[in-house]
């Protein structure tokens, strides 16, 4: 092919010569290197952004997990069976078949008062002691109100609100108790105490109707 003396061979030779000169390419070189540098900077920014987002997600997840653990720790609900509870429930004239589930009234390990590391923990500890050890629902209610007034969004606020509702039940302030239980029943705090709140609300409404029908 290379030595073939036809027009194609000649044309190839001329075409080769026409096209073999080449500019120095300095402008393209500068663009390539600048692009590589810019790409490197963009890659670093992307990596940094990804790291920041990942860190934010991790911290957020940890905070949520921590909050969940701290604020949602609660005693295992038990069927009301103590003489005190039976007496309280009997006084509400509930139907015999209703057996609501409400939190235990004795402190257990999970409900032990948190260490008094700060004012919030101290206030919570005082209300906790009044609620579970004092046997005085009015005093416990006042303590929960005190806590919630100072720390409405505190670490223990959901638990304090639920315990406050229990105090209202025990004090037979049923309308206020129902109002206090509604957020739990509607899932405002997720699954936390939702089932208990629903059962208590059902029991409260049934008990109210029962009283009305029995005491028109």
């Amino acid at each position: 092919m290379k030595s073939r003396p036809d027009s194609l061979t000649s044309a190839v030779r001329e075409f080769r010569e026409l096209t073999e000169t080449s500019p120095d390419g300095s402008a393209t070189r500068a663009r390539v290197l600048a692009g590589a540098t810019r790409g490197s900077a963009q890659a670093r920014v992307r990596r940094l952004t990804v790291n920041v987002v990942a860190l934010t997600v991790a911290v957020g997840s940890a905070a949520v997990a921590s909050t969940t653990i701290v604020t949602h720790r609660a005693p295992t609900p038990v069927v009301l069976a103590t003489p005190e509870h039976d007496q309280a429930l009997a006084s509400l004239e509930r139907p015999a078949h209703v057996r609501p589930v409400i939190p235990a009234m004795a402190p257990d390990e999970a409900m032990a008062a948190p260490p008094p590391a700060d004012g919030e923990a101290t206030a919570y500890g005082a209300a906790h002691a009044a609620h579970f050890a004092g046997g005085q629902p009015e005093r416990a209610l006042a303590a929960w109100n005190d806590y919630l007034r100072v720390y409405p969004g505190g670490r223990f606020a959901p638990e304090a609100r639920f315990n406050r509702a229990i105090c209202l039940v025990r004090l037979r302030r049923l309308e206020l108790a129902a109002q206090a239980l509604q957020p739990f029943a509607h899932g405002r705090y997720g699954a936390y105490r939702r089932a208990e709140a629903v059962r208590l609300l059902d029991w409260l409404s049934t008990g109210g109707e029962h009283r009305e029908t029995r005491n028109p």
């Binding site: 027009s7 194609l8 075409f15 010569e17 073999e20 790409g39 490197s40």
Partner: protein, 193 residues
Amino acid sequence: MRPTTRAAATAPSALPEAALLDGLRNGDLNALAAAFDRWHGRVRVLARRLLAEEAAAEDVVQDVFTELPLAARRFDGRADLESFVLGIAVKRVRRHRRAAQRRRRALARLNVMELGGPDPERDVYRHQLGQRLAAALDHLPLPQRVAFVLCEVEEMTAAEAAIVADCPEATVRTRLFHARRRLRELLAPERGR
């Protein structure tokens, strides 16, 4: 790319191929500069021969060396690095081919040719012959054009062309056969002039 000094990035480099490859894979700007200095001329000439347009060839050069650091990670060592770079150029030519053809036709209508431009001092016959082949190459399918340019113009063996074109050697030979036959047909009317 790792940051580097401008002086280092612009200095001519004679890195061994293995070191060059490692540098490219690691995003070393010095290695990219060295690769550009070593192969940009070959890439540009090949692109010009495949596209017959200076501006499009320059775009191919930029594309090839922009892609090279990432592409180098795929390099398996079956061929030399230069063939690998030229193979990237062949792939990039496909992107620019149609645009180059459109521009060239427009220039042809204005009686201005891209390859070197009008030059009264140039041997008219030689210039026209080369230009006719450039125009005839436009009538070939790109794979045939690639085979013809690599084997006939770049004077590669079929085996070397197969590596660059990323196809079997027998395919290169077949494409070359058809390309030659077609080009002779296209250039034949010129013989009688």
